[in-house]
Symmetry: C2
């Protein structure tokens, strides 16, 4: 049986994992100005109507529409100008039949007027008469109180990521604080007899830990908080002990395996010791990242990541990020839009496996070019040189120069 038939396809593996994850929101109240990147813990409803008063959408004259009926350049309507609406205040006058009031964009409409004529379609005559050169319909160039948002209306859904526009919208409504989901705590355990910390001087045969740092930054950016437990040797007892402690303290646990096959087997045995149901998926039909382990132990997600830094990074994007998103209450976890680009060179691949290859996307819209970055050992620097990952679908035996391919931006 070809190996890929035993491996779980990429999307099914995610579905299997997410089935076991429930949002765990645990709201905390923070200042709106500090909320960039956080996720709303509930509905945000508007305390006021927007706009809070009827407004003009143009510079011009507030009128009664009926007074302009039939008006044209050759036969204008003449209206008496009874005042000017100053910005930021009430008009202080109302519009009776035959009258008009000068008004600016965003100005509050006087009572009894029902339309605004754009200034370009008027002409002043003397000091207090305006010629109206075209008729306006009732409501034209105005916006009613609450036409955009009614008091009490939901303006931000639960599970929404706060972006600059949400911060502005909340400011508009005078909402200075809001409830956001607490950041899930993601524990990271690095393993490998050959792995030492970044501060360590290297002895022959040793390499520095990359994954803790890459994963921490990715977790932080997704809205989680990282607890790094350090680097442990490939020893069952030590690893099982620290993993159980970490799982008790965290919402999600990541274990990055050493690079050898025996180290990977160790990770899977340790994970199965942590609680049921244990390992759900062992091996995903993807390169890089095939030896991935997806597990749930006592209602908490545990992911065994490959030790290779490129594999760990790619897999974290596909599985760790959606888990954090789901815990935060994000409505559609794991959505990452892909671009289309034309491949600059042939890209070999094995059929039956989904490949993601580091690439360099460039060019001008609507057509982009993407060049694969070939790297013998899948070092982290192939991802440093890349701005995207190129997808080679499972059924392709490589892609040809000039073909359109899907790419995921690495921003």
């Amino acid at each position: 049986m070809p190996e890929f038939l035993k491996l779980t396809p990429v999307p099914q593996a995610l579905q299997t994992l997410l089935t076991h994850v429930e949002a765990n929101i645990n709201p905390e109240c923070i200042r709106t100005l500090d909320a960039l990147g956080r996720v709303t813990a509930g509905s945000v409803c508007s305390p006021i109507s927007m706009p809070p008063f009827p407004r003009s959408t143009v510079d011009g004259y507030a009128v009664r529409a009926a007074d302009t009926f039939g008006a044209s350049e050759s036969l204008p309507a003449y209206l008496k100008v009874v005042g000017e609406v100053l910005m930021g205040g009430e008009p202080g006058f109302d519009i009776k039949q035959g009258e008009a009031g000068l008004i600016h964009t965003g100005g509050m409409l006087p009572i009894s007027c029902d339309a605004v004529v754009m200034v370009e379609l008027t002409q002043t005559v003397g000091t207090d008469i305006v010629e109206i050169l075209r008729a306006v319909a009732v409501g034209e160039n105005t916006i009613k109180e609450g036409e955009d948002v009614l008091a009490g209306e939901e303006v931000i859904q639960p599970g929404s990521r706060i972006r600059p526009q949400e911060i502005g919208g909340l400011a508009a409504l005078g909402i200075l604080e809001l409830d956001v989901a607490r950041k899930p705590i993601v524990g990271i355990i690095s393993t490998g007899d050959e792995v030492v910390s970044a501060e360590h001087e290297l002895r022959p045969g040793q390499v520095r830990d990359i994954n803790t740092h890459t994963l921490s930054a990715l977790i932080e950016r997704t809205g989680g908080s990282t607890r790094a437990y350090g680097i442990f040797p490939d020893d069952y007892d030590q690893l099982a002990y620290i993993s159980a402690q970490a799982l008790a303290e965290c919402d999600v646990l990541l274990i990055t395996a050493g690079s050898s096959a025996s180290a990977r087997d160790l990770t899977s045995r340790v994970i199965n010791s942590l609680g049921s149901p244990g390992v759900l998926v062992h091996g995903v039909n993807i390169r890089p990242g095939k030896p991935t382990i997806l597990a749930v132990c006592d209602h908490k997600v545990v992911i065994g990541l490959p030790g290779n830094p490129v594999s760990a990074f790619v897999i974290a994007g596909f599985y760790v990020v959606p888990v954090i998103e789901k815990l935060l209450g994000i409505r559609e976890p794991g959505v990452r839009f892909r671009l289309q680009a034309r491949l600059t060179t042939n890209l070999p691949s094995l059929a039956g496996r989904e490949d993601w290859v580091a690439g360099c996307l460039q060019g001008n819209p609507p057509e982009y070019m993407v060049a694969p970055i070939f790297s013998k050992s899948n070092l982290i620097f192939s991802l440093v040189r890349a701005n995207c990952l190129i997808r080679v679908p499972p059924d392709a035996t490589g892609l040809a120069e000039g073909e359109m391919v899907e790419v995921l931006l690495l921003s």
Copy 2:
């Protein structure tokens, strides 16, 4: 003459502005772990070779390739197993003719071996003999010291945004601190007699300041730092005074105009008072955002943003973000990749103007659907509901349902 002939097209306006902007890097040294989102102030060169020692890329047996020539399943080569390379240390033995050493992925190659045979292509015989079932070439399944990165080689270019993979790569090299560009200070002045702060209770005719908050979050996310000067009435003297002070204290100055035409004229007069060359572009051929003012005063960028919050947000994405990026030293400021999606409904537009309409992108790759969000008054909540902006090219008189369109993600 149609109005759009007097307006500057969107890309030319950016080019005109950026011509006057020089990178202003002013390096500061920070911890690598705090560098996510910052921009490298110079080249980062590797202090070591990567890998730092010759390694195996598979689990298997380190051999001399010549000893395997002609080996096959029917006629295996027999080699004497002289040791096992433990992870994280030196091998402690070398490989002589007729010998092999057990080695794991990432293990350090013993001296005198020049290839590794995958364990799947071997079979052990007794305790210290291994059958080699296929020949390997010199160098096969190995990676040389420095094959990925040589000591002294540039691994991160100047002007690179630090992402999770850069943090991991720097950790791998033992680089615990690095020089990044200082955050440019962007001053924001809000104007408008009708505008009050978010903390303010609204009186009739007043609206709360949205732009300061939206822009601050956008600036922060781009890598700038915001200094908000508050809200000022539409008064030339006050505005000229505070603008001159702000320009002296900041690297970039944003003035968001009141919504009326006279308030917009005021902004342009104030900007021209701040230094030469003054206003470079007054009016961009875009909706929303037509009344944008792009200026350079005494070598600093000053941008007059429309008062409408959607306009201000869209224009900030097109002009403020690239200016901050260029000041930070980013090599290609203003690059934003666009996706292709199929329009779910007709979208009317005026020919001769580039429109950007809030939209909701959904669906599964490779084909996405995008639905425009229609909003009468361009309130900020149309952007809150949106996850993208849809481009209507200048030469289109609207787009038809089912057409492929370009969209910019609003993440």
